[in-house]
Subunit: 148 residues, 2 copies
DNA sequence: TTTAAATAATACATTACGGTATCATTTAAT
DNA sequence: ATTAAATGATACCGTAATGTATTATTTAAA
């Protein structure tokens, strides 16, 4: 019951890039901030820049920047872009196919939970993530503080 | 966002065994029902029978049976017995450590979802799973029908 | 006591994921 | 043109999860 490392990384990367919408972030900077293994990060950034969430700019002084407004990037978007495909199943526990011929009684109950998860993920966007300070206090300061 | 294969199998196995509390199920029968790869199933059954959820009886006409009442086996019990450890994390997305120094604003929001998942899993037991028919109609007939 | 039918233990094989290494390409500044 | 600093492509490696194979052990029945 968890996201994959790769999805985790994607969420962290995009959350970090949300700090400054217009900024061009280099892999180097993101690495220093988030401590994601550098080469893996590079690979992930390349993959992510093939989605419509971020774009890469090559060459000297290149980097990555968000390609949509913060309000238009939901957490679900990020999860999908990262390659986690496990949110759209329809069996009770998220199984690819229900273990049983007839949908079991728990199916509906669990489906409700899954629906709620999807709801939270699809309605929470980077703007919201950024606009509220730590512990839910609105507009305090940036939630994503430097680690380094 | 999913359970591991192993956890999935455990849930299926126990759900199936809930059909008849007293019955001794052979690995062969479970295999025919659930189509879990036979040798992997065998291994898993051995592991599960070291938990307090099911017990094995060796020798000819041996097999596996539940060792607790249906009401006393929650889905969370099964998940834990199967080895999935990913339910007790405390960061916003279930990360082992929060990506950021200060807990982010989403932390609380997501924590609520996680709490609910845990709630559903820990309060739903095999008896409940069995007592309600397909699609939520109580006491229709068994939800777990033969595939074979 | 031998046999048959079941589980137990253990080792091995395969696959997917996370991570690393190398070289190629792009682009701005000189 | 050359160089420097960035990303892109690709191949490889390590480990854990999944799956398979083999042999040992247990137990009831004949």
């Amino acid at each position: 019951m968890n996201f994959s490392k790769t999805t985790e990384y994607a969420l962290k990367i995009l959350s970090y890039m949300a700090l400054d919408y217009n900024k061009l972030y280099s892999a180097e900077e993101i690495f220093k901030e988030l401590k994601i293994p550098y080469r893996y990060l590079r690979k992930q950034l390349t993959i992510l820049s093939k989605s419509d969430l971020i774009k890469s700019i090559q060459g000297k002084f290149g980097g990555y920047k968000l390609s949509k407004k913060l309000e238009d990037i939901s957490l679900l978007d990020i999860i999908v872009a990262s390659g986690d495909k496990q949110l759209s199943n329809n069996c009770f526990f998220g199984f690819n196919e229900c273990a049983f011929q007839e949908k079991c009684s728990f199916h509906n109950k669990w489906e409700k939970v899954r629906t709620e998860i999807n709801m939270v993920l699809s309605t929470t966007n980077l703007a919201e993530l950024k606009s509220n300070g730590p512990h839910g206090h609105a507009n305090s300061n940036l939630l994503l503080t430097k680690i380094n």
